[in-house]
């Protein structure tokens, strides 16, 4: 009897229990380590100096000094622990990738086995030698697979043992004290000083950071999480880890205060709002609404105390270090760090639309995308919940003081540096295709950045109150030719503010405001179609004009309010570089201020003149009714009265027309 030895079917290997989600443990440990490191630093600063001696010093500082030593030991232990976990997670990430390869091999080998078996079943005698040879070759491949699988399992076991050993090596105070005194421990003071010295040279920062050991990077992320998380040029993943630790540290601290019965001060409350908003911005990527996009969120900036507590925040959807196409969305008026979650949702919408537009191309285009919501400047901020006069004064002061040339320029510089950082950290030796999208006052800030030489490929100005002072034409923005795009809804009142002249020409105001209206045809940008929004009157200035027309550029279609999504579709095509799909509508031929004058004129007509005429008509009708029952003499009197009133109303209307012509002033 002829036998052909076919290897046994290969079972699947169970998935590793350590997944990407397990990195939450590292975040927890880093947050704890950062908090302890902060306490240790405080204790060191308040304990006895190393060369201080004597009874009085002993009595005064002994306890604090000992506390400083102990907390430093805990800090060193947590630092080692975090490093061990970080290494373990990195190793597990590699092991998961290796397992995927092994399972693909397994599937292929099982497929060959099935094919061989089916051919054996129908084989003729003369085919047997060939099949035996094929089976021998397959057995050899199966043996190699088994060997590689065993090696892989051993590697997993080794990694686990090493992690447990590393954690066990610092689970006693004495071991922590030893770790704190270890001469090989990273000198985080020196590392932080060097990072500060490199400052805004993002290429130098990136090169220096990548030259550090994993232990040094880990130690610095713990000791100076705020510095690492907010320095442009540090890779996005590391910024995210440092910032996430800081966010968690802050939330735990502030909720701890509340839990202890302490009422948070106004600044602490604002601090908590900042922390929770960015936590929510990250969570939104995994929300039911967006989870199926499968996109990761990265915290690229978190400074809750910046700008008097307004805060700095930035969140990326998709890793900009590896993305083919990156967009930086710069929100405008009324936005601060406490609203990064809502702005993050706008960025998520843009992310999805960009992928969808690329998929809709013929043929469909592949490519990775990252969209970033960046609130890294002091946007004109106003507390809309203000009810008390002193709150209004405070909020008004915030607006009045932040919207100055200096602050707008500072915002432009900060944006330009942020963009430099993205260009520096992009892997693969090239820069990403990068678009900056400025909305509202963010468009003015973005224009400042562009005019000063921001290193972006495309610029979008949407709902703009002006393209910044000194910018009169698209060529002043120093962007590549044909890469400045503008969208402005006719019924967006913020877009009525830009102009070559002030709002009141011929007066002391006859100079530039926030700059020229970039939507003007003669500005020279490419104007794309947007939903023009609904007309509005009176309080509708806020509810419809501002809350809807000015803020719906990133939204999905909304039939209840009659909005389309033309703006986000066009922006998506710009972000992906498919600018041929963006049709130039030609832009406005009517001055932006004219929209404002027309609206104000219409409002006065509607609220002042029309009521006078309506009142007159009511009187008129009443008199006519009375007239029908009175004598002829009275008719004469009535006609006199009526003519008099008619003359008065005509006079008022003429006076009004003189005062308020079609184009005021």
């Amino acid at each position: 009897m002829t036998t052909i030895q076919v290897p046994a079917w290969l079972p699947t290997e169970p998935e590793l229990e350590v997944t990407e989600a397990s990195s939450a443990i590292l975040t927890d440990v880093r947050a704890a380590a950062t908090a302890v490191s902060d306490v240790a630093e405080w204790a060191r600063a308040n304990g006895a100096p190393a060369d201080f001696s004597g009874d009085a010093a002993e009595a005064a500082d002994h306890a604090v000094t000992r506390f400083a030593t102990d907390t430093d030991a805990v800090s060193a232990a947590l630092e080692r622990g975090a490093l061990a976990i970080d290494r373990f997670l990195t190793q597990m990430r590699q092991r998961r990738a290796e397992r995927e390869e092994l399972m693909e091999r397994r599937q292929s080998l099982n497929g060959h086995r099935e094919s061989l078996l089916s051919r054996i079943e129908t084989a003729t005698e003369d085919q047997v030698p060939g099949l035996q040879a094929e089976a021998a070759q397959l057995r050899s491949r199966f043996d190699a697979y088994h060997k590689d699988l065993r090696t892989w399992r051993d590697r997993v076991d080794d990694n686990e043992r090493a992690a447990v050993r590393a954690l066990g090596a610092v689970d006693q105070l004495a071991e922590g004290l030893a770790a704190a005194k270890d001469s090989s421990r990273a000198d985080t003071d020196a590392l932080a000083a060097e990072l500060r010295r490199l400052g805004t040279d993002t290429d130098a920062v990136n090169s220096w950071w990548n030259g550090l050991s994993q232990a040094e990077r880990n130690a610095l992320m713990i000791s100076d999480a705020d510095l690492v998380g907010n320095t442009n040029g540090i890779p996005t993943g590391d910024r995210h880890e440092a910032n996430t630790s800081a966010v968690q540290r802050d939330i735990e601290y502030l909720l701890g205060l509340q839990a202890s019965g302490q009422e948070l001060s106004a600044s602490e409350q604002r601090w908590l709002e900042n922390a929770r908003s960015i936590e929510l911005a990250v969570a939104n990527a995994q929300s039911i609404q967006f989870a199926d996009l499968g996109v990761n969120a990265f915290v690229m900036a978190y400074q809750p105390h910046a700008f008097g507590g307004d805060g700095i925040a930035a969140v990326a959807y998709g890793d900009p270090d590896t993305a083919d196409h990156t967009a930086v969305y710069v929100p405008g008026i009324m936005q601060d760090g406490t609203q990064i979650d809502e702005n993050g949702n706008q960025a998520l919408n843009l992310y999805e639309e960009t992928i969808n537009q690329m998929a809709a191309e013929d043929p469909p285009r592949a490519g990775s995308v990252s969209t970033i919501a960046w609130i890294g400047y002091d946007s004109p901020n106003f507390n809309p919940e203000s009810k008390m006069p002193w709150d209004l004064i405070d909020s008004g002061g915030d607006v009045g003081h932040t919207v100055t040339e200096a602050h707008a320029q500072a915002g432009g510089i900060a944006l330009s540096q942020f963009v430099d950082g993205i260009n520096s950290t992009h892997t693969g030796g090239d820069q990403p295709h990068l678009t900056v999208i400025g909305h509202s006052y963010g468009s003015t800030t973005s224009s400042y950045a562009a005019a000063a030489g921001m290193d972006a490929d495309s610029l979008v100005l949407i709902g703009s109150p002006g393209a910044s002072e000194g910018v009169h034409h698209v060529s002043d923005l120093n962007m590549p030719a044909g890469q400045v795009f503008v969208g402005a809804a006719d019924n967006d009142p913020v877009s009525w503010l830009g102009g070559k002249d002030g709002v009141f020409p011929g007066t002391w105001d006859d100079s530039l405001g926030l700059g020229a209206d970039p939507a003007q045809n003669d500005f020279g940008a490419i104007n794309f179609a947007v939903d023009n929004g609904q007309e509005f009157h009176g309080p509708g200035l806020v509810t419809t004009g501002f809350m809807e027309n000015h803020t719906s550029y990133f939204d999905d279609p909304d039939p209840a309010r009659g909005h389309t999504n033309e703006a986000v579709v066009n922006m998506a095509n710009i972000v992906s570089g498919n600018t041929d799909a963006v049709v130039d509508t030609g832009g406005r031929t009517q001055e932006a201020h004219d929209y404002l004058y027309d609206w104000v004129g219409g409002e006065v007509e509607h609220h002042v003149v029309q009521p006078v005429i309506d009142t007159y008509n009511d009187v008129h009708d009443g008199v006519v009714e009375t007239y029908e029952g009175v004598r002829d003499e009275v008719v004469e009197t009535y006609e006199g009265v009526r003519d008099g009133v008619d003359d008065a109303v005509d006079g008022a209307k003429n006076a009004w027309d003189d005062l308020w012509p079609d184009r005021w002033p």
């Binding site: 039911i288 702005n343 106003f382 002030g502 405001g513 509810t543 803020t551 990133f554 909304d558 039939p559």
Partner: protein
């Protein structure tokens, strides 16, 4: 100096717009119903519409969530959300037509303004359905939104607390 004055003038208008919001809570966007009733209105419309779409597409999976959040302007709150309907791939135009018919037959008001979408509304609730390659083959993105409204007192506390709670699952 002229520039500074010009800035002030322009800003005055911006500021006044914002001031209106803060000072006139009664007249600018305050909701005439409680947030709980507003939430019921939105959730009711969504939980009626989505199963109709699910059926029209012969969908295999539906995940829809919603919750309170601040409006994009930072003024007022809105109940909104969305999710994914997973369905077998098919003729896109036929699917869009089937979805539209299912919804309008049930009394939802047709409001589609964009090709490749089906948009409907009921009262002040807008809903949009569109195939989304970004969510995978056969996936449809769902989004919905109530009106942006301002709330005061306990109502404001309610929407802020709900905002912190995050979204909740509406379907399945």
């Amino acid at each position: 100096m002229g520039t500074v004055f010009a800035m002030r003038t322009t800003l005055t208008i911006l500021w006044l717009a914002a001031l209106l919001v803060g000072a006139s809570a009664c007249s600018t966007g305050s909701d005439e119903v409680s947030p709980q009733d507003r939430e019921k209105q939105v959730v009711g419309a969504v939980t009626e519409a989505v199963p109709l779409v699910e059926q029209a597409l012969d969908a295999t999976q539906v995940t829809i969530g919603g919750g309170w959040s601040s409006c994009p302007s930072g003024v007022g709150h809105v109940y909104s959300g969305g999710g994914t309907i997973s369905a077998p791939a098919g003729n896109r135009d036929a699917q869009l037509s089937a979805v539209r018919t299912a919804l309008t037959d049930a009394g939802f008001e047709e409001g589609t303004l964009v090709e490749g979408h089906v948009s409907v509304s009921r009262d002040e609730v807008g809903m949009d359905f569109t195939p989304s390659a970004a969510r995978g083959p056969g996936a449809w993105a769902v989004s919905f939104k109530g009106p942006c409204k301002r709330y005061g007192g306990d109502d404001e506390q309610y929407v802020q607390d709900q905002n912190l709670e995050g979204e909740r699952t509406l379907l399945p």
